[in-house]
Amino acid sequence: MAINAPVEATAEAEFQVGSREWAPLLVRFARERPLGAIGAGLILLMGLVAALAPALATHEPLATDYAAMLAPPSARHWLGTDAHGRDVFSRLVFGSRTALLVGFGASVLGATLGAVLGVTSAYFAGRVDLLIQRVMDVFLSLPLIILALAVVVILGTGALNVILAIMIPMIPRCALVVRSSALAIREMPYVDAARAAGYGHGRIILRHMLPNVMAPYLIMLTAYLGQAILLEASLSFLGLGVSEPTAAWGLMLRGAAVQFAEAAPWMAIFPGLAISLAVFAFNLFGDSLRDALDPRLKTQ
C-alpha cells in the first residue's frame, strides 16, 4: 500500500473530474486507453446516428410494404425487411433513439438519485443510515430483471415507464458504492467547516459532499449505461418494454424474428448486433473510465 501511495496522488490529480483543462486530458485518455477511446468513438457515432436518424434512414421506419415482406438484403432494403415489409436498416437507425433515450434516462436518473441517497445515508449516519441501508438491502436481494418486470407490469409499457423500471434497481446499487466513498468525505475538514459555518444539512450534502463523490458516481453511471440498454432490449423482447410500432431493437427481435429466423435470418441478426455493439461501446468506455478514475487498478 505504501508503495502505491505516490501513484495514487498523481493519478488523482491527472484525472480529477471538474478540472478545467479537458482537451489535454482527453488526448491522454485516448493515448493511454485505446480501448476506452474506441468505445467513446462508437458512442459518439451512435449519438450522431440517433440525431441524424431522419436523414440517414432510407425508408420511413413505420412504413409497411406488403409487396416486400421478409425481403432479403438488397440495394433497395440494405438489411432486408421484416414480416410487415418494414425496412430493417431504417428501424435500426431509429431504434438507436429509443436505446439512447432509455439508456441515458434510466442511468442518469438512477445514478443521481442513488448518489443523493448514498451521500445522505453517509452524512446522517446512525439510525438514518441504518434504516436506508436495510431498505436498500431489500431491493438488492432481487435480480435487476425481476424488479424491472414488476415495475413495468405495475406502471404499464411505454418508454417513460421503462426508464422508471430500469432506474429503480439502479438506485440501491449506486447508493451502496457512493455511500462508502461519502463516509470518508464526511470526516473531511471542509465538511466540518461547513457545519461550523452553520449551513443546513441539504446544502452540505448537495454543495459540499455530492461534488466530491463524482468519481464513483461516474463509474456507476457508465457501468450501468450498457446494462440499461440491455435491460430495455430484454423488456421489449418480452413485450413488456417499449410498445409497437415504435422502433426498438429488442422489439425487433420479438415474435416474427424468431418465428421466421430460418427464412429471414437478417431479422434476427442485425438488431442483436446493434444491441451488442451499443452495449459493447458503453462497457469499453466505462471500463477504461473506471481504470482511469480508480487509481488502485492503474497499470504500472
Binding site: L35, L142, L230, F237, G272, I275, S276
Partner: protein
C-alpha cells in the same frame, strides 16, 4: 463462530420480511386482481359484480389488507406457501419442476462461467497489456454486451441451418433421461454462462494483478521458487476469494433472472413462471417466487460471508 453464525442468520430475517412486505404491497397497488384477469376479458366487459365479489371472497381478497397480510405471514411461519390463486394448485406443486429446471440451468451456467473465467482471467493478468490481455478483455466485454437471448437465437438458428436439428423443446428431468435433458439445457447454459463469465473473468484478472504485486510474491520469486508453484499456491489461492464471491452471487441471481433466455429456449423455468404469475395477478404465486429468489440470494450471501469468516478469523470480530 456459533455466535457469529446465529447473528448472521438472525440478520436475514428483517431483510426477508422487507421483501415480503414490499412485494405484498406492490402487488396490491397494481390495478386489477386475479378475479378481474380471469373473468373480465376483451369481449366480456360486463360481468355480474356479485360473481366477482363471490370469487374474491373465495380467495380471501375481500378481507382488509392487514388481515390478508397476517394470514399470509402465519402461513409463512408454518412454511406453507398456500395455493396459486390462478390454478388453485398448491404452490409447491406449481414450483417443483420449474425450480428443478432453473436450478439445473443455473448450476450448468455457473460451471461454464467458472471454466471460462478463471483460466482466461489468470492468462490476462499474467500477460497484462499485451495482445493476449486485450483479446481476453474484448472477449469478456463482448460477452457482457451480447444479450444472452440473442446468443440463444443465434445458437438455435445455427443448429437449424447447419445441422437441420433443433434442441428438444420439452423439458425432461435429468433423472428421467439424462441425454435428452442435456441436449436441451446445454445450449442455454452456454449462452448464459458465457455472459456470466465476463464479470468473473474481469474479477479474476484484477484480483490476480493485485496479488501478483504483493511482497510475498516477490519474496517467492526471489527465493527462486518455481513459477508454476508461485502461481497456483501463492497467487491464485489468494486471488480466488473475490472471484468465488462474484461467482456465488451471480449464481444466486441466475435462479430467477433468466426470464428472457427461458423464453427463447422455450424453458418453463422460474423466470417465465414469474412473468405469467404477475400478468395473472396471481398474488400468492408471485409472492412465493419473489421470496424464493430473494431467499436464495440472501442465503448465498450468508454462505459467502460464512466462508470468509471461516477462512479469515479477523472478520468475525468486526
Amino acid at each position: 463462530m456459533v455466535k457469529y453464525v446465529l447473528k448472521r442468520l438472525l440478520l436475514m430475517v428483517p431483510t426477508l420480511l422487507g421483501v415480503v412486505v414490499l412485494i405484498f404491497v406492490l402487488l396490491r397497488v397494481v390495478p386489477g386482481d386475479v378475479v378481474e384477469m380471469r373473468f373480465v376479458s376483451g369481449q366480456n366487459q360486463f360481468v355480474d359484480q356479485k360473481l366477482l365479489a363471490a370469487e374474491r371472497a373465495k380467495l380471501g381478497l375481500d378481507k382488509p389488507m392487514w388481515q390478508q397480510f397476517g394470514d399470509y405471514l402465519a402461513g409463512l411461519v408454518r412454511l406453507d406457501l398456500g395455493r396459486s390463486m390462478w390454478t388453485g394448485a398448491p404452490i409447491t406443486e406449481e414450483i417443483k419442476l420449474r425450480l428443478a429446471l432453473s436450478l439445473q440451468l443455473a448450476l450448468m451456467a455457473t460451471l461454464v462461467a467458472t471454466a471460462l473465467a478463471i483460466p482466461l482471467g489468470v492468462l490476462a493478468a499474467l500477460r497484462q497489456d499485451t495482445w493476449v490481455d486485450y483479446v481476453v478483455r474484448v472477449f469478456s466485454i463482448a460477452g457482457l454486451a451480447m444479450p444472452s437471448f440473442w446468443l440463444g437465437i443465434l445458437i438455435i438458428l445455427g443448429f437449424l441451418i447447419v445441422f437441420r436439428w433443433l434442441p428438444p423443446m420439452v423439458y425432461t428431468p435429468f433423472w428421467v433421461d439424462p441425454w435428452q435433458n442435456l441436449a436441451q439445457l446445454t445450449w442455454p447454459a452456454l449462452a448464459v454462462g458465457y455472459r456470466y463469465s465476463a464479470v468473473a473473468t474481469r474479477m479474476t484478472r484484477s484480483a490476480m494483478l493485485e496479488v501478483l504485486r504483493e511482497d510475498y510474491i516477490r519474496t517467492a520469486r526471489a527465493k527462486g521458487l518455481w513459477q508454476k508453484l508461485i502461481l497456483t499456491r501463492h497467487a491464485l489461492r489468494n486471488a480466488m476469494l473475490p472471484v468465488l464471491t462474484v461467482i456465488a452471487l451471480e449464481f444466486a441471481f441466475l435462479l430467477g433472472g433468466l426470464v428472457v433466455t427461458e423464453q427463447v429456449f422455450n424453458l418453463n423455468g422460474l423466470g417465465l413462471l414469474f412473468v405469467q404469475a404477475i400478468a395473472h395477478r396471481d398474488y400468492t404465486l408471485t409472492q412465493a417466487l419473489v421470496l424464493i429468489v430473494a431467499f436464495t440470494f440472501i442465503f448465498v450471501n450468508f454462505l459467502v460471508d460464512l466462508a470468509f469468516a471461516w477462512i479469515d478469523p479477523r472478520i468475525r470480530y468486526r
